[in-house]
C-alpha cells in the first residue's frame, strides 16, 4: 500500500500543473535549483555537528551520558542508542539529521533501531528553534507553558514510536 503513496503523489502533482497548461519542466527545474544553495547553507552546520558527535563518541563521553540516562529512557521502552537523537532533536534539525544518518550507518537501515529513529525524527520537531523563529516578530517574550506542552507531546510521540515500530 504505502509503496503507491509517493508515485501517486508525483503523478497527481504533475497532472495538476499540466491540466492548467503550466510548464511542468520549467517549474520543476526552478524548484530543483533551490536544492544547491540549501545544501550549501546546511553543510557548515552538519560539519560542526559531525565533528561534535565524532568527538562525543570517541572520547567516551557519549557512552557515559547514555549509561547515566539509560534507566530513565529504558523505563519508557526507549532503547539507549536513541538517546542522543532524542536529546538533540528539540534544538537542531540538521544536528538530529546527522545523528539519524549515523544510526542508519551503525545499525543497518532496516533494523528496528533505525526505523524507530526515523519515526522519532519524523514525528517530532525542533521545538526551541521553531519557538525562536515563530515568536521573532512578537513584542512580548514567548511564554514557558506552550514550550513545555510541545516537549511533552514530542516525548509522548517518541515513546509511541518506539512501541509501534516493534509491531509494524
Amino acid at each position: 500500500m504505502s509503496a503507491y503513496v509517493i508515485p501517486l503523489l508525483v503523478i497527481t502533482v504533475i497532472l495538476s500543473v499540466a491540466v492548467k497548461g503550466g510548464k511542468v519542466y520549467d517549474t520543476f527545474v526552478k524548484g530543483a535549483k533551490k536544492a544547491f544553495p540549501l545544501v550549501l547553507s546546511i553543510f557548515p552546520y552538519l560539519a560542526a555537528i559531525f565533528i561534535m558527535t565524532e568527538l562525543f563518541e570517541k572520547s567516551g563521553l557519549s557512552k557515559a551520558i547514555i549509561d547515566l540516562s539509560a534507566d530513565f529512557f529504558g523505563f519508557f521502552g526507549i532503547d539507549k542508542s536513541l538517546v542522543p537523537l532524542i536529546l538533540l532533536k528539540p534544538f537542531s534539525g540538521s544536528g538530529s539529521l546527522g545523528i539519524l544518518s549515523k544510526i542508519m550507518t551503525d545499525y543497518g537501515v532496516d533494523s528496528y533501531l533505525s526505523r524507530c529513529a526515523c519515526a522519532i525524527y519524523g514525528s517530532s520537531e525542533t521545538v526551541f528553534y521553531v519557538g525562536a523563529v515563530y515568536y521573532s516578530k512578537c513584542k512580548s517574550k514567548p511564554p514557558v507553558l506552550p514550550f513545555l506542552i510541545s516537549l511533552i507531546s514530542n516525548f509522548l510521540a517518541t515513546v509511541f514510536a518506539c512501541f509501534i515500530c516493534r509491531i509494524m
Binding site: F36, V39, A47, E54, F56, G122, S124, L156, A157, F160
Partner: protein, 181 residues
Amino acid sequence: MNAIFTVITLISLILLTVQNPTSVVTVMTDGVEKSISLCGKLFCIYALWYGVFELIERGGIGRLIAKILKKPVKWIFGKTDEKSSGYICMNLSANLLGLGGVATPMGIEAEKYLENEGNRFGQNMLFVLASSSIQLLPISVIGLRASFGSVNPQDIILPTLLSTAVSTITGILLVKIFCKR
C-alpha cells in the same frame, strides 16, 4: 545550540586528548568527511523534492488544502480575525506538505497578527501545532532510507504518521486544557 555545542565539544576534546592525543585530528576530519557524504545524499533528495514542491505550488494543491483546512482551524482555534486565520491556514497547509520554508514566514505573520488581536490562546496553539510536527509525508527520511539501500523505504510512513498524530493530538488537547482563552 551554542551552549550545547561548546560544552559537549570541549569536554569530549579534553577527554580524548587525555586518552589519545594523536587521534584528535583524525577524529575531527572524519566528522567533516561524514558530513560531506550526508550532504551528497541530501542534495539528491532536495533536488527531486524541491522540483516537486514547486509543481505543488504551481498546480494550486497548496491553496486547495488551505481551503479544506478552514473548518478544522475554526474548531481548533476558536474565534480569530479573518487575516490571522488566513495565515494560519496557509501555514498549516505548508507544514502538512513538509514545506517548512514556505510555512515559516506565514507562521511568523500569523503569530504577529494573533498578538495584535490579543489572542494569546491562538498564539500558543499555533506554536504547539507547528512544533509538534504535522508533516503527512516524511520525505527526507524516506529519501535517506532509500539512499542507504533500504528494502522498502516507504514502510516507515505509517508508523511515523501514527506517532505524529500522537504528538499533535496531545498538543492540541493540552493547549485547550491549560491555556486560557
